[in-house]
Amino acid sequence: MQDAAAFRAEARAWLEANCPASMRGPMPDDEIVWGGRRASFKNPESKLWLERMAAQGWTVPTWPRAYGGGGLTAAEARILDEEMRRLNCRSPLQSFGIWMLGPVLLEYGSEAQKEAHLPRIARGEIRWCQGYSEPEAGSDLAGLKTRAVLQGEHFLVNGHKIWTSYANLADWIFCLVRTDPTAKKHEGISFLLIDMDDPGIRTRPIQLISGASPFCETFIENVRVPQENLVGGLNNGWTIAKKLLEHERKMIASIGERQRGAERSLSEFAKTYAGTRDRRIADAVLRDRIAQQEIDQRAFQLTQRRAAEEAKGGSPGPASAMFKYYGTELNKRKFELLLQCLGTQALGWEGDGFAADELRITREWLRSKANSIEGGTSEIQLNIIAKRVLGLPD
């Protein structure tokens, strides 16, 4: 524990010396840094913060130093996280490369692939997107049809992906493709890395019920991909796909923590909008529902902490399905309750008569509906728990 205390002191001193003043505090949506070739920094200190953290290896604290990481143990990374929270440091970089692709490249990638891609992810130079779902392959992901045909040194790729988050802003896409149409559906899939700087790739944003367009359709037409961009061997993609999904689920499960909607608690909203009696929320039914929500959220966070302690930094495993299921259902419930608290003030779409926070909550409520669909629906997560954790038969 001597080492832990020393590391904490070191991390604290470094953060205090290096985290710019404007990087300490809540992050407005338009100052979130996603990196990439076309990265723009509305606040110049965001760029400075990213560069300093990347030089330290702390955009990816647990990755090996050789690949741009900080080489920290899981325990040290937790200390760093605690110290960043203490100072209210913003996350320097949001990245599907960090959350999803990086961990599977570390596990399945060749040395050349790790060297080529991981440092650029760590420094925020390349923005990745995820080419999984297709119009005919949603919950039945393994039914995907995007074809990759090996022609000499290259794969020729043709297909149509959908729900590709921020594809219109991404530089590279990690993609599930069918390389053997004659094999059983799980056995003919490969995992391919594709540079999107190619005239054969087109993206089209999809407008959602929230009014925002975070997702795209991605069309891939006669794109030639070097064979060296195949990860984990030919027709071996499903194993990697599943592993990556575990990381994605873990990421989505923490959605409630990361979202900014929670700076004021549910009970504060209830008191403000629905009134108080004897300094308590006046509406006893609403109070009970909020207490239920707070209790479940706390028990959920305790469970995430317990799982992290038990896993000691290892892979999340099938339990990630539980966290994805429960975390997203909780987040949806939170927004339903927020709407109940705000009453008609949560029913505005834009313009006068509504505060910016109220309009944001309305939009985020609509956005939250996707939480239990993206990354595998709640029903799929329950299937996974039933099969892989409880051992119930097909």
Binding site: S267, D288, T303, R305, N383, V389, L390, P393
Partner: protein
């Protein structure tokens, strides 16, 4: 605070699981019920628990106990919950020992704790007066009388009340029913003059009693803690009750759940195991999540109590609320998923359903604890 068990705690849990599985399976509770056993629990089994040190887990070493803390006892209770074992663990080892250590004077401690630690002294907390848990809604009167007190009133739902050697009675020495202030705790011998005990047979086959106090005369030495300040002891005592009972409920819920999942694998209809049907799979998976959350909540509450943490009360209510809902859900779903056989007395799943209902009502149901959690949270 860690939420994973250290080696010594894991050993306690494993010992307890093995002990109850071998010596007190669910069939033992059935036999106590069918025999209309006068004690309602097995005295030889309790003696063995005393030898293992479980009776004295919360008793300081200076008084012959193990001084191990609530986490250790909670793990034993979880094991007891697995087989629905009827034991004095909750009333005596947890509540009795806690009340005496939290509030007892030196004389009270040295008089009672060594016997308690050996499993030779049984206690019971006489608190409730109505059909719902309401710790401050106390009308049982303790009137000053000739240098002592005179006790009048009636207590209900006193766990182990019919066999306790010593009752911890929560009475009103001043103020109005509902006031937090004005409560006093008394140690009253179970056979004192003016005490009338009527055993109540509960749906879960556990022990409880209705106890009348008619002009029971007590000396100053019967006061446990300070006069009128009983709530200062009662609140932390009930936190321990909630966390400990939640641990027991966790064990019962986990057991009922595992039995139900096994049944889904074994039972065949339409030529396939019924566990292959998605309508049942999804409900089973959802129950699994509730158990995992309950386990985290129980560990956090027990650990917080042992550490004297600021948020121990909130976590105790959280654990009781989660355990109450999880066990309630699993008790009901357990019977439903077992189908017709689950409705029979011969099958054991029904014992879990019955216990769920009684455990939920003990020391406040989930709605009570959500309200308390909200109040502690300032809303």
């Amino acid at each position: 605070m860690a939420l994973t068990l250290a080696a010594d705690a894991a050993l306690i849990r494993d010992t307890a699981l093995d002990f109850f599985a071998k010596r007190s399976p669910v069939g033992a509770l059935r036999k106590l019920r069918d025999d209309k056993d006068a004690l309602g629990f097995s005295l030889p089994l309790w003696r063995q628990m005393g030898e293992l040190g479980w009776a004295g887990f919360l008793v300081p070493e200076t008084y012959g106990g193990a001084g191990f803390g609530c986490l250790g006892l909670g793990l034993v209770l979880e094991g007891a919950g697995r087989t629905l074992a009827a034991t004095p663990l909750l009333a005596t080892a947890l509540l009795g020992a806690s009340a005496l250590t939290l509030a007892g004077g030196d004389r009270q401690k040295s008089e009672h704790l060594p016997a308690l630690a050996k499993g030779e002294l049984l206690l019971a907390l006489a608190l409730e007066e109505g059909a719902h848990h309401a710790p401050y809604r106390i009308a049982t009167a303790a009137r000053h009388d000739d240098g002592g007190f005179r006790l009048d009133g009636e207590k209900r739902f006193v766990l182990d009340g019919h066999i306790a050697d010593l009752l911890i009675v929560v009475a009103r020495s001043s103020g109005e029913s509902g006031d937090r202030r004005g409560l006093t705790l008394f140690l009253v011998p179970g056979d004192a003059a003016g005490v009338t005990r009527t055993r109540t047979r509960m749906v879960d086959s556990r022990n409880a009693a209705t106890i009348r106090f008619d002009g029971v005369l007590l000396g100053e030495e019967a006061v446990l803690g300070r006069v009128d300040e009983g709530a200062e002891v009662l609140d932390p005592l009930l936190d321990r009750a909630c966390a400990g009972l939640a641990a027991e409920m966790l064990g019962s819920a986990a057991e009922a759940f595992e039995r139900t999942v096994q049944y889904l694998k074994d039972r065949r209809q339409f030529g396939v195991p019924i566990g292959s049907f998605q309508a049942l799979k999804h409900r089973a998976a959802a129950m699994f999540c509730e158990i995992e959350l309950t386990r985290s909540a129980v560990l956090a509450a027990l650990t917080a109590i042992d550490a004297g943490a600021q948020d121990a009360s909130g976590l105790a209510s959280l654990a009781k609320a989660k355990a109450g809902d999880a066990f309630f859900l699993i008790g009901n779903e357990g019977v439903q998923m077992h189908g017709g056989i689950g409705m029979t007395d011969e099958h054991e799943i029904g014992f879990f359903l019955k216990r769920a209902r009684v455990a939920q009502a003990s020391f406040g149901d989930s709605a009570f604890h959500r309200d308390r959690y909200a109040e502690l949270g300032g809303y």
